[in-house]
């Protein structure tokens, strides 16, 4: 469904993403992990049309969408959320989600009922009339998810929707994401919360200093010495291995 090939993006000489390739197949949940500053969000932004890549190709359903405007990519069925939540502060949760629903629905009443259905689905049914600005961190994360979902995507790019949530809230949102996948939406997510990655992802890509350094199932990734070193520093894998022995 999504193919990223040899994508690179530099900011004034600094290579944020360096020759990265990844795939997401229809119906999968794919996680993108990596230390802070690894280039995950930049890669997301380049896939979703917010940055024009310096090199490389992004294909969605076999169609080259590299460097297209975000609204075109959204219309094609791919939508992203933001790590730093971007609620429409002065309007209600309902109106926030309706903006997403309007991507495919022109009629106001239909958009409103879709927004309400989506809100219930992500557990915001009681907050419909609250203003975007008055939401808690957990509420804002849910709103990001709800708005994106309302655009009717086939591929959802979730950028750290669990950061800053407590364990109960994480469990809830993990269930929501599972339900979304069950409805046939493919999901690519950036996540630091490993508990969530392990329970959700079919496959994991690890990004470090802009490069994809490993790919595999969550279990395989956790045992990969290259990955351990990327997170904990040079030689860490050997030291950990030594302790276990």
């Amino acid at each position: 469904m999504l193919e990223v090939r040899q994508l690179s993006k530099a900011f004034s000489g600094l290579k944020a993403v360096d020759d990265a390739s990844l795939d997401a197949r229809a119906g999968e949940i794919v996680a993108l992990i990596g230390p802070n500053g690894a280039g995950k969000t930049t890669l997301f932004a380049a896939i979703a049309g917010f940055h024009r890549p310096d090199a490389g190709v992004v294909r969605f359903d076999g169609v080259d969408i590299t460097g297209q405007a975000p609204h075109r990519i959204c219309a094609a069925g791919m939508v992203r959320t933001f790590q730093i939540t971007q609620p429409f502060a002065k309007i209600s949760v309902r109106d926030n989600i309706m903006v997403g629903a309007y991507a495919r629905i022109a009629d106001r009443t239909a958009a409103a009922s879709r927004a309400e259905a989506i809100a219930r689905r992500v557990g915001m049914g009681r907050q419909l009339d609250q203003r975007g600005a008055d939401l808690t961190v957990a509420g804002r994360k849910r709103l990001e998810l709800a708005r994106a979902l309302a655009t009717g995507p086939r591929l959802l790019l979730l950028d750290e929707v669990m950061a800053g949530l407590n364990p109960t809230e994480i469990t809830e949102i993990v269930d929501v994401i599972k339900a979304i996948r069950a409805d046939g939406v493919t999901i690519l997510l950036i996540e630091h919360v490993m508990q969530a990655v392990t329970s959700l992802a079919d496959r994991v890509y690890v990004l470090n200093q802009g490069r994809v350094i490993a790919e595999g199932t969550p279990a395989a990734i956790a045992a990969d010495p290259v990955v351990v070193e990327a997170y904990l520093g040079h030689g860490a894998a050997a030291r950990l291995g030594g302790q276990h022995a």
């Binding site: 979703a48 917010f50 405007a69 975000p70 609204h71 959204c74 219309a75 939508v79 992203r80 959320t81 933001f82 971007q86 609620p87 429409f88 502060a89 002065k90 309007i91 109106d95 309706m98 903006v99 997403g100 309007y102 991507a103 022109a106 106001r108 958009a111 975007g132 708005r147 994106a148 309302a150 655009t151």
Partner: protein
């Protein structure tokens, strides 16, 4: 809309329609103020509300604040005057064409400024500069007759859109005002309006959610431009004269922005409330200045009061006077 809201709107409309007859009746009954003066004030409120609404559509709803909105007003004013004076058009025909010219100017400014990615204060300054360029051009090119201005021949009659009785001018302004309110009301109930508010609140999020931000912003500036130009055309037809300062003076830009901000930017009724407040201040200070000798040299007094009012509003009531009418109604007014 709630039933109470409907009653409120219907009552207001009936009152606005009856207003000239009420003041004439009051005049006949011995009111010390000339009825025609009061009708004229009512006309000014409606007209100011309409050009304020023009600003509000793009500046309040879509958040694209302009400091040079007079460029649309002046385009409409000159369009209306030139089509009649130079080309001998009938004003009824010239009016929509003048509005279309305003839409064209709005589209052009939007296409250039938004293509270049100008936002916030950069956009505001560019619009200010464009309005000044138009003023200087109007002062120097032959077809506007420069600083002499254009004089439309007075020939009252329905066919010429000129009226001896101020009641008809009042009704025309009322029609504009109601049209402006309807456009703003539509924005709160349509996809286009929701997208404008999304753009105002957060442009990146709007883009991610499938909104073609550039296209929507150009569209709203064209709509706003058409309204501003329709207002300018009305103004010319009322006073039958236009010169570069009347058409493109920066004070009119300030007025358009001010009535919207004071009343409540991004609300339906904000510009109307703001226009009422500002026109009242205008008239009261003028009366005071003519009555109190100490104030005679403080001219124009209204500007001092405007300034103080703006400071108060920004500091204490950032959502404008409209927000005083109860939080619930204020929020319903917001898109």
């Amino acid at each position: 809309m709630s039933r109470r809201g409907l009653v409120f709107v219907a009552g207001g409309l009936v009152l606005a329609i009856l207003y000239p007859w009420l003041v004439r009746a009051a005049g006949a009954a011995g009111l010390p103020v000339a009825p025609n003066y009061l009708i004229n004030v009512g006309m000014l409120v409606c007209f100011t509300a309409f050009i304020g609404q023009s600003w509000n559509i793009s500046g309040g709803f879509a958040g694209q604040m302009s400091f040079g909105h007079v460029v649309f007003f002046g385009t409409g004013a000159y369009g209306m005057a030139i089509l009649q004076v130079t080309y001998g058009w009938n004003p009824w025909l010239a009016w929509p064409v003048a509005a279309a010219l305003g839409a064209g100017v709005g589209w052009l400014i939007g296409a250039l400024a938004f293509r270049a990615g100008l936002k916030g204060s950069y956009f505001a300054l560019i619009t200010l500069a464009v309005a000044e360029v138009f003023r200087i051009l109007a002062n120097s090119v032959p077809f506007t007759r420069g600083g002499l201005g254009l004089l439309i021949k007075a020939d009252p009659g329905m066919a010429n859109l000129q009226f001896r009785d101020p009641i008809w001018v009042y009704y025309l302004a009322l029609l504009l005002c109601v049209a402006g309110l309807l456009i703003a009301w539509r924005l709160t109930r349509t996809r286009f309006g929701a997208r404008l508010v999304a753009i105002r609140e957060n442009e990146d999020a709007a883009r991610a959610l499938g909104i073609d931000v550039y296209a929507e912003k150009v569209k709203v500036l064209a709509l706003s431009g058409a309204m501003g130009a329709a207002g300018g055309a009305f103004y010319v037809q009322k006073y039958l004269y236009v010169d570069p300062w009347i058409a493109f003076g920066v004070d009119k830009s300030v007025e358009m922005l001010l009535v919207s901000m004071v009343g409540g930017a991004g609300t339906i009724v904000g510009p109307l409330i703001g226009a009422g407040a500002l026109t009242a201040i205008n008239e009261i200070t003028r009366m005071l200045a003519s009555v109190v000798p100490a104030l005679k040299n403080v001219q124009p007094l209204s500007l001092i009061v405007y300034g103080a009012m703006l400071i108060l509003i920004v500091a204490r009531l950032p959502d404008g006077l409209a927000s005083l009418f109860g939080r619930r109604r204020g929020e319903a007014g917001r898109a």
